[in-house]
């Protein structure tokens, strides 16, 4: 079974082998409101843990998307660029953002599991 972890910046990350799929959490989409614009990192580029790796904009404001682990961008989800509202509809599944070939699996250990994240999200929005 693949492992899903969560960051304090409200990204989720699913690791399968050395390929990590990254997106933003449902909680993040609820805070952002209707997402109307998405920018993704370039395919083939290298991103560093906690660095910016994209932008989402709602009708109200722009927010950076961070990568919770380091790696090389190997795939992008063009469908959320073409129709950003998909992110609000299915954030933790079909509306993933990008896939990374990760450098250091131990970076996963610094992230939260589902229970820890749910608690964190609840506290941070209280």
């Amino acid at each position: 079974m693949s492992e899903v972890k969560y960051s304090k910046e409200h990204e989720w990350i699913k690791l399968e082998g050395d390929i990590a799929t990254i997106g933003i959490t449902k909680h993040a989409t609820e805070m952002l409101g209707d997402i109307v614009f998405t920018e993704l990192p370039e395919k083939g580029s290298n991103v560093e843990k906690d660095g910016t790796a994209g932008v989402v904009e709602s009708t109200k404001a722009a927010s950076d998307v961070y990568t919770p682990v380091s790696g090389e961008v190997v795939d992008l989800n063009q469908s959320i660029v073409d129709d950003p509202s998909k992110i609000n509809q299915d954030p933790e599944n079909s509306a993933w953002f990008f896939k990374l070939k990760i450098k250091d699996k131990s970076e996963m250990d610094t992230l939260m599991n589902k229970d820890e994240y749910d608690k964190f999200a609840k506290e941070s929005s209280a």
Partner: protein, 367 residues
């Protein structure tokens, strides 16, 4: 200072509003369905907006008041009919805009609707300009509810009979459950609609009645996307003390007759600018693709020279794309001029376009 609450605060809470502080008031930015859905509902059905934070200034007086107000506003108030409204500005001596407003001729004087953030200052300025000659009331006992969108006439008519006979930019008094209500056919969304001035104690009950008839509460977030698609200015963004009505491309709101005669505050500058042109002017801007250029985004021409700045920019749900307004040097203000917008360090192509981005016709009658 504590933030103020409107009479609909409880209703907003019951309707699961997310609140923001705006001009010292706790105001709903959106409800549970979100800005895009609220925007679309207003365009297709009927949205209710709590605009009670705006100032309702009543000034009482007769002919001499008309004369005195004509020295302040660039309007032909002598020929403004009873219950008819005009869009105008309160200006400084150099024609900088202190506020934009709607002025309506009522039986004993005038009703002026002012922006929330400006109303106290406007009151002081007007009181001084009018030398304390007239009774002036910035009414805090009344709420202001806007109902906007194509179904609004049916909905409001079912609650207050007779409103369907009002034409755009005119109003009248109505009575409902012994409450005196002043209704004008106006709004700030680009849709047909009404603004309803009524006592605070009746506001909640009245609004719940509109909701029962199928209208929905809409927050400030969608109000902003709606007015931007309609090409309408927002004070503090397109309009400020540093901008004149000519620069803001609002010369249509200045009475032609008054320009010839002058003699209103700021008239020298206005006349000069109308004759000689202005350096910068407000335009509509359509970014290519989906990139959103927000307020303060820098604008460049094709030779990479900075020519202006965005004043409002968002995603327009009905346009289904990004929309913006801003000021550019006059020589680059022609429709279809290619420009570039600097967003997050990159320059993105856009074009100057005519306003509004989204057009519907208002209900006009024979004047």
């Amino acid at each position: 200072m504590d933030t103020k609450k409107t009479s609909l605060y409880q209703l907003h809470q019951d309707s699961k509003a997310k609140f923001v502080e705006f001009a010292g008031y706790q105001m709903p930015i959106q409800y549970s369905e979100g800005i895009v859905e609220e925007h679309r509902f207003t365009r297709n059905h009927s949205g209710i907006f709590d605009v009670s934070h705006m100032g309702q200034l009543f000034i009482y007086g007769r002919e001499d008041l008309v004369d005195d107000l004509e020295r302040i506003f660039p309007l032909d108030l002598k020929n403004l009919k009873l219950n008819h409204s005009k869009y105008s500005f309160l200006m400084s001596d150099n024609a900088g805009i202190y506020d934009d407003l709607i002025i309506t001729k009522i039986k004993d004087g005038f009703l002026i609707i002012l922006n929330a953030a400006c109303k106290e200052n406007d009151f002081k300025i007007l009181k001084a300009l009018l030398n304390d000659k007239y009774k002036m009331v910035l009414d805090v006992e009344r709420s202001l509810i806007a109902i906007q969108g194509p179904k609004s006439v049916q909905i409001l008519k079912s609650v207050i009979e007779g409103v369907e006979n009002l034409n755009f930019m005119s109003g009248n008094w109505f009575t409902l459950d012994d409450h005196n209500i002043y209704v004008t056919r106006s709004g700030y969304t680009g849709e047909d609609g009404f603004e309803v001035s009524l006592t605070n104690e009746f506001a909640d009950r009245f609004t719940r009645r509109l909701i029962d008839k199928g209208a929905k509460l809409i927050g400030l977030g969608a109000r902003d996307t709606l007015r931007l698609e309609a090409g309408l200015c927002l004070y503090g963004h397109e309009l400020s003390k540093d901008k004149t009505p000519v620069e803001a491309n609002l010369k249509w709101a200045i009475s032609k007759d008054r320009i010839l005669k002058g003699n209103f505050i700021g008239s020298d500058i206005i006349t000069k600018q109308l004759n000689n042109g202005v350096n910068k002017i407000r335009v509509g801007i359509k970014p290519e693709g989906r990139i959103i250029a927000r307020e303060k985004t820098k604008i460049y021409n094709e030779s990479d020279l900075e020519i202006g700045e965005i004043t409002s920019g968002t995603f327009g749900p009905s346009v289904n794309g990004p929309v913006a307004m801003g000021y550019v040097e006059n020589k680059f203000s022609k429709k279809n001029t290619k420009i570039f917008l600097e967003v997050r360090g990159k320059k993105h192509p856009a074009t100057i376009c005519s306003l509004p981005f989204y057009k519907k016709s208002y209900v006009k009658g024979v004047i």
